[in-house]
Amino acid sequence: MPHESETTGIGRRNMSALMSVLQQARYASVTPDILQEAAPFLDLGGEEIRASLFFTTDQTGRELCLRPEFTIPVCRAYLTSADAGTPTRYSCAGPVFRMRAGEPAETLQVGLESFGRTDTAAADAEVLGLASEAVRAAAGGSLTTIFGDAGLLASLLDALRLPALWQRRLKRGLDKGESAATVLAAAPTTAADHSGVLAAMAGTDAAGARALVDDLLSIAGIASVGGRSASEIAERFLSQVALRAAPPFGPEQRSILDRYLAIAGEPDAAALALRALAEEAGLDLSAALDLFEARISLMAIEGVDLATTRFSGAFGRNLDYYTGFVFEARLAGLPGGPVLVGGRYDRLAQALGSTVPVPAVGAAIWVDTLHPGQGTPR
């Protein structure tokens, strides 16, 4: 065995300090395998994460990878466990593996996940509060936290009747750090080139549209090949007809969206600004705003320091699976990335094969960022 480096020694001590806080809070310790089936990570994260995974194959040719994170393995373990379906809290700790230029491939992470709780605001607040407490216990110092709300943004876009295609692109663009202006300026699709077909389809039903697509394929002499059925093609034409007929996402809607994205600041002030925006715009966002306000109250109870916590309408995390509360936190005075990241992911369980939705929220702590670059002798 090579001699353990001083830095790793600090990492191990930090890891135990973090875990003892989580275990006192009854987050049961689990240990996912280091070697994982690769498919779930690629299915959920997309091919864009392929470049950061370490792959290998087993003797049957199945693609395996070193675990890049804990949420997906822990969620899979929960779904196949006896606890599935009941509220359950887990914690885990150990190395995770990602290829990143100029950074170590193996880093220590501590994760906490809370499954199955229907008291959404309380579960959100508890996870952020506990993760913050653990970081403070291990590293001392104070945290600055920023959070967003993917659920509130989705409610707003629904209320503004932004078509599904644009909702998807906007969320993904914002999560990648693009501006709404950039996303919304892009070409929608090439529907404009098919105006004859779309005109012919206006007013028809699914069966009529399907018959038209069949005829078009047959006239063009195309034997249907691959992936999508004629019905799916017909449905897409119909959705484009609907998109063209829909009330436009005009300057008024656009200005409401821009105002939402620009709201940033202390949680209570942000809540007031959001209420005011909804009222002025005549939009019913009450369910999402009630949750937003309840969560802030509970965050304070869970020990989150609201004075160093900021909401940002434009804040998102670059992972498709977050559906609600999203957050990240940094230790004051430390450069580099966040020490603590997480959020709500209510659709993950179904994407991993659950037949029923499972509400879930979790966080990950990057242990090596707690004392960056320190290798002080013991």
């Binding site: 091919e47 699709t189 195309i222 090949v225 691959g226 999508r228 004629a230 093609i233 484009q240 179904q350």
Partner: protein
Amino acid sequence: MTTSRPLVLAVPSKGRMQENAAGFFARAGLTLQQGRGARDYRGTLAGFDDVEVAYLPVADIVSQLAEGAVHLGVAGEDLLREQVADAGARVALLSKLGFGNANVVVAVPQAWIDVRGTADLEDVAAVFHARRGRRMRVATKYINLTRAFLSSRGVTDYRIVESLGATEGAPASGTAEFIVDITTTGATLTANGLKVLDDGVMLRSEANLMASLTAPWSDATLAAARMILARIAAEEAARLSREVRAQFEAGAPDLGPEAAARFAAERFPSGSPDLQIFHCAAGQVGPLSDWLVERGAGKVIVAPMDYIFAAANPLFDSLVGRLPSGGRSEPVP
């Protein structure tokens, strides 16, 4: 020792690329001499004692250029971009060779009459993912190019299925919904019921003469490279231009400046105003000749040239300019 190591020139070991590369070097007056038999993978370059020729599969040429195991090589740009992560920092593209032309394209079934461009593909893939709970699959051997291209177009709801042959058959056989593949005429795609997206050309590739920026470039290997590249540049310059000789009656005006301005033709001194000699791009031969006749030439004779050696060596200069220490990198022992 650095000075005893030869310059290694890697050339494709089989197929059309081998024939084309051999033809290219032959035109430049560089004769590749394969070792004792056709199965020998090492050879020499006639007249160059300190050059070793390595016959390698094209994929290996690219990786050995990137690692610095060979100095110069011939390979397609597609493989370089696919296989080498930071290609620009490790390998210099010195010259396009005019063969091995092929495009790397995104192709979808022709039956997808509602899909014309990548914006449609983004939409269709997202709906497919949401509805079926799985991502569309793209069959390809160009994993890295595909990921970078689709990412730049905002297409994220897909999975790559690695395909090392007959990729165009994947949609019909049901192992993928669409493909990324290399095509020259598109005929194979059409025969398999596929079409290229309007904005689906990811890379226009052709064979390139490449130089490793990570290889141990000693003074001796640089000197050998300078001579090889001078011949290649001389052949390239000659191949792309023509010599035009025009005969005039006595007392004809000097047409040099006007020919330079109108046809980018270079005037060569002939010793007599009755004979004016120009070099021009091959495509300018017709217009230049017509104009010379118009200006009183009795006869215009156009001839191809074998080589144009020049004091300037742009291929070598571009290699030296890219090397980290201006061409004095010493190998790590």
